[in-house]
């Protein structure tokens, strides 16, 4: 099963490499991400598969918005490539890189040592996670308990990314009607579907966050799904009534609270002082709270990046 999928995966990658039209590359990349997510599921990691599937939606949206901005900003002055590629120029442009990367591949295969996978940490985590962190999902227990420092670092990277995007993008002066309930013309069918799907997305995101410690899912995946809910809302009403500056403040506040909570509970070891009767309740509350904070953080970050991309901002 997984061999067939992997062959398809590589074929999709080859199609992306040798495709010349950018619009086709974006669509192929979406299909590639879908196959990747299915492969992750077969590798026994539903959490990562869900994250990849949710995140590939956003990469596709980003690329499509970028591609649309090309045409809004002006004509690409690059001369169109000749319709028929000559054999000699093809060889010139592709042979040397092909030989070089093939040589590196062979070097890699030759020098890699024969190794056996060390499973000490895996057995330790699986044996101890129920007592140390709680919950039933080992992956959640690791990224919220044993390696919470990585999660904080990831949240910090998201903050930096939001700052960079809002600093580098510009205000185009797009005219926005004030609080008018204008619908986009000619797409009633899509909007009707979105109206039905939209609340389900929000419920699904909250479900993923609330059950993150028991089932596949968690803060990252739920946050991305909630961000897609807000994007659907934008697509339906085509109005802008949320202030970006306020959302940036909320995001920074949530990041601060997340850091403080993690420092207080994990680094200071607050669960060691809890009486044994209340320990499981305490652990469950910590996991749900932390997942909810991370979900809010991720949702805010993706929402801000999307709104800066479409270039609509009320002064």
């Amino acid at each position: 099963m997984i061999q067939v999928l992997l062959v398809l995966w590589l074929a999709m990658a080859m199609m992306i490499v040798f495709e010349r039209k950018i619009a086709k590359i974006i669509i192929f990349f979406g299909i590639f991400s879908l196959i990747t997510s299915f492969c992750f599921l077969l590798l026994g990691s539903p959490d990562v598969a869900m994250a990849e599937a949710a995140v590939s939606v956003f990469t596709t949206i980003f690329f499509v918005v970028c591609f649309e901005k090309y045409h809004n900003l002006g004509v690409d002055k690059t001369t169109e490539p000749p319709p028929k590629l000559k054999v000699l120029t093809f060889l010139k442009t592709y042979t040397l890189p092909l030989v070089f990367s093939g040589f590196l591949f062979m070097l890699f295969l030759y020098f890699i040592p024969e190794y056996t996978v060390n499973t000490y940490l895996k057995t330790q985590y699986i044996a101890m996670f129920a007592r140390d962190v709680g919950g039933e999902n080992v992956v959640t227990a690791i990224y919220l308990g044993y390696r919470v420092y990585d999660t904080l670092f990831e949240a910090l990277i998201l903050v930096v990314s939001v700052i960079a995007v809002s600093h580098m993008s510009w205000y185009e002066g797009v005219s926005v009607k004030d609080d008018t309930d204008v619908e986009i013309d000619g797409t009633e069918m899509a909007i009707f579907t979105l109206r039905i799907v939209c609340p389900l997305l929000l419920i699904f995101g909250i479900y993923l966050i609330a059950n993150g410690q028991l089932t596949p899912g968690g803060g990252f995946q739920g946050g991305v799904v909630i961000a897609t809910f807000f994007i659907c809302r934008y697509l339906i009403y085509d109005i802008y009534d949320i202030r970006i500056g306020r959302i940036i403040r909320i995001e920074e506040l949530v990041f601060a609270v997340t850091t403080l909570l993690a420092v207080f509970i994990v680094f200071l070891g607050a669960s060691a002082y809890m009486p044994a009767n209340y320990l499981t309740i305490f652990q469950d509350v910590y996991l749900v709270l932390m997942n909810a904070l991370i979900g809010m953080k991720v949702a805010c970050a993706f929402f801000i990046i999307f709104y800066r991309y479409i270039g609509i901002e009320r002064k």
Binding site: Q3, L73, K77, I142
Partner: protein, 119 residues
């Protein structure tokens, strides 16, 4: 060389996207290839300890000694979860930089941009 098939395929994808990065002239293609590179690395890490009939590390059965050798390794999964989100945020910054470049130079061809910047 005792590679699993998944590891071998992810290494091949790594070098395919490396080849694409060398040969691509358009800036947006370069961003797509960095994402492909990241996917290859994620797949390589997740394939650690891959075997037939592998089980996800979720549920009460994982600590059961009958199943523990079939359960997938949870540590790379937790690390790759953060790596995927970081990859998307980095590519978001890349795309904004690309749009800024396009507004200034009206092209995304690396050669023309280089020529215009040199004067």
């Amino acid at each position: 060389m005792n590679f699993e098939i998944v590891e071998l395929f992810s290494i091949i994808l790594f070098f395919i996207s490396f080849f694409g990065l060398i040969t691509s002239k358009k800036a947006l293609k370069s961003i797509v290839f960095t994402l492909l590179l990241q996917t290859a690395v994620v797949m390589f890490f997740l394939s650690i300890g891959f075997g037939e009939n592998i089980l996800p590390p979720i549920g009460e059965y994982v600590a059961n000694p009958d199943y523990v050798h079939r359960v997938a390794d949870p540590l790379p999964q937790a690390l790759m979860l953060t790596a995927i989100i970081i990859g998307v945020s980095v590519s978001a910054i890349n795309i904004v930089m690309l749009m800024t470049i396009f507004r200034k130079h009206k092209t995304t061809d690396w050669d023309i941009i280089k020529k215009e910047n040199m004067g």
